[in-house]
């Protein structure tokens, strides 16, 4: 029976105990990830986008606490013990991080690392695991997988390593792949290729959550986009709608900040003044208000909640009407 | 400036304050130092006063006769001698550590920063010195120059700097790769200035931690020298000498061994805790 929702987050909060007191990294996020879709979660550094999913997987730092609900195929993740989560991680959810060198152990051959997870749990025997590893290497676009199988990570280029990292995450056959800034550390051409790999995987039915700070990479691959700011979701919409008719001023400003090839050359980029609130800052009203060109009195007093209508949502007292003119 | 923010050391200090073992150790050390300085003043005995009234001369601890920790084989009050010994041991340790710090940091930072051949040669010197039979030289030096306190802590410092140099050199090599060192070079700063202003301050954390862990080693080394009869000369005494003398009388007069050993063990333990605490406090990842 197909689940209507693969991952369901409800009122998820993440905080960290620091010297200066508790710091809220995620302040109540409710989101759904549907099977077979690619959901992009976009936000600047410090918006909480990574912590949100690390909390779901039980991978927060020692001083981190998660509250609220996160259900994967019906099963509650928050508060689940380490043993339960360890089984889940990898088997049902794969994680690919920013720096491929961190995902790969330098002194083990690539093939060994790929097979490690499935051999560990006794799920497969060696010959089977090897075949699967080679198949996956090919599906992520690594040429000549047999040779690469026996090589060490440092013999591969950055792009190849990231592909291996994706293949590793897919070895146990997870239903969901979380890609946390997978292309940020890569060159532009390699970035395009890795995104292609993710796109192909999605076409084959893999559900993907793509976490990134760059709205630009999202356009060609995501079905829906959730924009986060200062620990909360400020807009959710289908990709096409988000790009053509953003409702939240922050989304509109982010779109304008992307350097493009079709604007007049030498033009100034439209940037947002100021910077996001620091983690320990106390927030009053809408966190984006200090930087928002359209902020009104109401915006500084109360924080807007996420309003849903017509399959999209925005958290703004005065959302932009359809069509944002520069 | 409106927005004063706590410096790096202030934050580290606070972190250290939260480490209970380290704080307890610091307090214990402080008490020990105070007692070791106040003891000889307060007590009615001096370190070389022989109490002829005792029979035998070596008598166990007794409150009645004022010898709180007993006396040694020559009838001298052990409490006062342990205090004096502690002072000497700590002094030697601190001075020797300071010497090894100065030489080691300068050597290691320079080698690590300059890199290449210079680094190679500088560290070969360290390797060679490391390999030398050190005790041999100390003995020769002692025979030639006599057993002065100065000589002892120079000798110990002369060995202690080797490991410090290696550690600092490793840190410097890593720091050299950082962009801010390149930035300093593009400012036209001479190497000397870059090492002093940018390399050394960034290795201080490691150096301080290592220094607190060196002090116990130095004390032990000095004790070893004393045990061999090469340490401080009479009437001065050190914990090492006291331990050496006490060990000879272990069966007949156990208190002669216990007192200085306990002091020594306490110092070493406390310094280790403080060292650990400092390392955690100064760990940049915890900022």
């Amino acid at each position: 029976m197909a689940e209507a929702v693969l991952l369901s987050l409800d009122g998820l909060r993440v905080s960290f105990d620091t010297e200066q007191g508790p710091v809220q990294a995620v302040r109540g996020v409710s989101l759904e990830v549907r099977p077979g879709e690619c959901l992009a979660v976009v936000g600047e550094s410090g918006s909480g986008k990574s912590q949100l999913f690390l909390a779901c997987l039980g991978l927060l730092a020692a001083n981190g606490r998660a509250e609220g609900s996160a259900r994967l195929q019906g099963e509650q993740l928050i508060g689940a013990g380490e043993r339960g989560l360890a089984v889940l991680r990898g088997a049902r959810v794969g994680l690919v991080s920013q720096d491929p060198m961190n995902a790969l152990t330098p002194h083990l051959r690539v093939g060994e690392q790929l097979m490690e997870f499935v051999l560990d749990r006794g799920r497969m025997k060696r010959p089977e695991a090897r075949i699967r590893a080679l198949q996956l290497m090919e599906s992520v676009g690594i040429r000549d997988p047999e040779t690469r199988f026996d090589q060490y990570p440092h013999e591969l280029s950055g792009g190849q390593r990231q592909r291996v990292a994706i293949a590793m995450a897919l070895m146990p056959g997870p239903a969901l792949l979380i890609a946390d800034e997978p292309t940020t550390a890569l060159d532009v051409t390699v970035q395009a290729q890795v995104l292609d790999v993710l796109r192909r995987l999605r076409e084959q039915g893999l559900t993907i959550v793509l976490i990134t700070h760059d709205l630009g990479v999202v356009a060609g691959i995501a079905d829906r986009v959730a924009v986060m700011y200062a620990g909360a979701v400020v807009e959710v919409a289908a990709t096409g709608q988000l790009f053509s008719m953003p409702r939240h001023p922050y989304t509109a400003a982010l779109l304008e900040a992307i350097p493009r090839l079709d604007t007049k050359p030498g033009d100034r980029l439209v940037h947002i003044e100021g910077q996001p609130p620091r983690p320990h800052e106390r927030l009053q009203g809408c966190p984006f208000a200090p930087r928002c060109a359209l902020a009104q009195g109401r915006c500084r007093e109360s924080e807007p909640g996420l309003d849903w209508s017509g399959g999209r949502a925005s958290a703004c007292h005065a959302p932009l009407p359809g069509g944002w003119a520069a | 400036m409106t927005d004063a923010s706590p410096g790096i050391y202030a934050a580290a200090w606070r972190r250290l304050g939260r480490n209970r073992a380290a704080v307890a150790a610091l307090v214990a050390l402080a008490v020990l130092v105070v007692v070791s300085m106040a003891g000889p003043v307060v007590s009615s005995f001096s370190i070389d006063h022989v109490d002829w009234s005792l029979s035998p001369l070596a008598s166990p601890p007794g409150l009645a006769n004022g010898h709180w920790l007993g006396t040694d084989g020559n009838g001298r009050d052990l409490f006062v001698r342990v205090c004096a010994g502690t002072q000497v041991s700590l002094l030697v340790a601190l001075l020797a550590t300071a010497v090894s710090l100065l030489i080691g940091v300068a050597w290691g930072a320079t080698a690590g920063y300059l890199g290449g051949r210079v680094d190679g040669w500088m560290m070969r010197v360290v390797d060679v010195l490391y390999a030398l039979p050190y005790m041999f030289f100390v003995i020769i030096l002692t025979v030639v120059f006599g057993r002065s306190l100065l000589l002892i802590f120079l000798a110990i410092g002369a060995v202690g700097w080797l490991t410090m140099a290696r550690i600092v050199r490793g840190q410097s090599l890593a720091l050299r790769q950082q962009a801010f060192v390149d930035a300093a070079i593009t400012l036209g700063l001479p190497a000397r200035r870059i090492i002093a202003r940018h390399i050394v301050p960034n290795v201080i954390g490691t150096v301080v931690v290592y220094a607190t862990l060196t002090v116990p080693q130095v004390i032990l080394f000095e004790s070893f020298l004393s045990f061999l009869g090469l340490g401080v000369q009479e009437p001065l005494t050190s914990l090492g000498r006291l331990v050496a003398e006490g060990a000879l009388e272990m069966e007949a007069a156990p208190w002669q061994l216990l007192a200085p050993s306990a002091a020594l063990a306490l110092i070493l333990l406390c310094l280790n805790f403080v060292g650990d605490g400092l390392r955690d406090a100064l760990d940049p990842r915890q900022r």
């Binding site: 410090g46 950055g158 532009v188 700070h213 050359p265 | 930035a183 036209g188």
Partner: protein, 330 residues
């Protein structure tokens, strides 16, 4: 016409493989003969990916790395590190902003101290009232609040650190600022702020820019001219408009195609230009064009003869045997 401010001719940089047991074959050819020219007040974008040698180029110009061959001329003078006086003068006029905002500032120095150090080292201005006011002015010029001066780098955001780095580089009013991937480590929104800041500074203070990046879209906003590097060689060089309107070299086209498309309707249908796996600076220089193994248009001649950089009109130059035929290919 006056001499260019910065002139680089035939620059080669090889990192020796060397060592007792390793052979010379392992030498890394970071730069294999590069010519660059930059006039006063102009901005040049140097574009390429990992291994193309762009960072090495910056390091050579700054005097951090010695070239194996070729020369670098600053304002007509052949750069000679042993000439202390002229080096000092050059350092005042040529400054740099590095990629890692946190790594380029000494973690044990406050923001204000880092900027003040530059002032002291390059102009001898010590901590006097003049010095302090110039540091304050530098902070203003980069849009940083004075209250941030006593902060340490770890207490600042990436964007703020990068502004401090820019303040440090511009407090002495250089004639040329080298930006080595200066915005690559920043979020897109912060990147936009810094790009605009650099554009403003360049315009207001007449500072030239040597902007090194792997992102053509950013370069488009900042630079008058662009040079594309691949595996240590310049493969195309052109004024900005010409390069973006009609890129000639297949690698330039691949780079342009890789810039993320922000119109979802177009993006989902566009596939990345299919390039074979990345080359490596470790490889021996091949007999022919270094891009041939990955080039979708390579023919036999490309593998046997290295193309030189030939002028292709309108102040442009391209290193490709087939550039004339490929112009018609979209």
């Amino acid at each position: 016409m006056s001499a260019p401010l910065l002139e680089i001719r035939g620059l080669r940089v090889e990192y020796a493989g060397g060592g007792f047991l390793r052979s010379r074959r392992d030498a890394v050819h970071a730069l294999r003969g590069v010519d660059i020219e930059l006039r006063e007040g102009r901005s040049l974008g140097v574009v390429g990916e990992s291994g193309c040698g762009k960072s090495t180029l910056a390091r050579v110009v700054l005097g951090l790395v010695a070239p194996t061959a070729g020369e670098v001329r600053w304002d007509g003078w052949t750069v000679d590190p042993s000439d202390r006086g002229r080096m000092r003068k050059m350092r005042r006029e040529l400054q740099v902003v590095f990629q890692d905002p946190f790594g380029s500032l000494d973690p044990r120095m406050t923001a204000g101290a880092s900027v003040a150090e530059a002032l002291e080292a390059l102009e001898g201005v010590t901590d006097t009232a003049t010095g302090r006011s110039r540091v304050a002015a530098a902070f203003d010029a980069v849009g940083l609040d004075h209250g941030l001066a006593p902060r340490y780098p770890h207490e600042l955001s990436g964007g703020q650190c990068q502004r401090v780095a820019i303040a440090r580089a511009t407090v002495v009013r250089p004639r040329l600022l080298i930006c080595d991937e200066a915005v690559s480590a920043l979020d897109v929104s912060v990147q936009a702020q810094i790009v605009n800041l650099l554009a403003d500074l360049s315009r207001q203070q007449g500072i030239g820019l040597l902007f090194i990046s792997h992102n053509l879209a950013v370069v488009r906003h900042l630079c008058d001219e662009v040079a594309v590097l691949y595996l240590g060689r310049v493969v195309e060089r052109a004024p900005r408009d010409a390069l973006f309107a009609a890129p000639r070299h297949p690698y330039t086209r691949a780079l342009l195609a890789a810039v993320p498309e922000t119109d979802p309707r177009v993006a989902s249908r566009r596939a990345a230009v299919e390039l074979a796996e990345e080359g490596s600076a470790l490889s021996r220089p091949s007999a022919g064009c270094s891009f041939a193994p990955r080039c979708p248009h390579a023919v036999d001649a490309c593998f046997s003869q290295p193309p030189g950089l030939e002028p292709s009109g309108q102040g442009s130059a391209v290193a490709c045997h087939r550039w004339r035929e490929l112009v018609s290919v979209a």
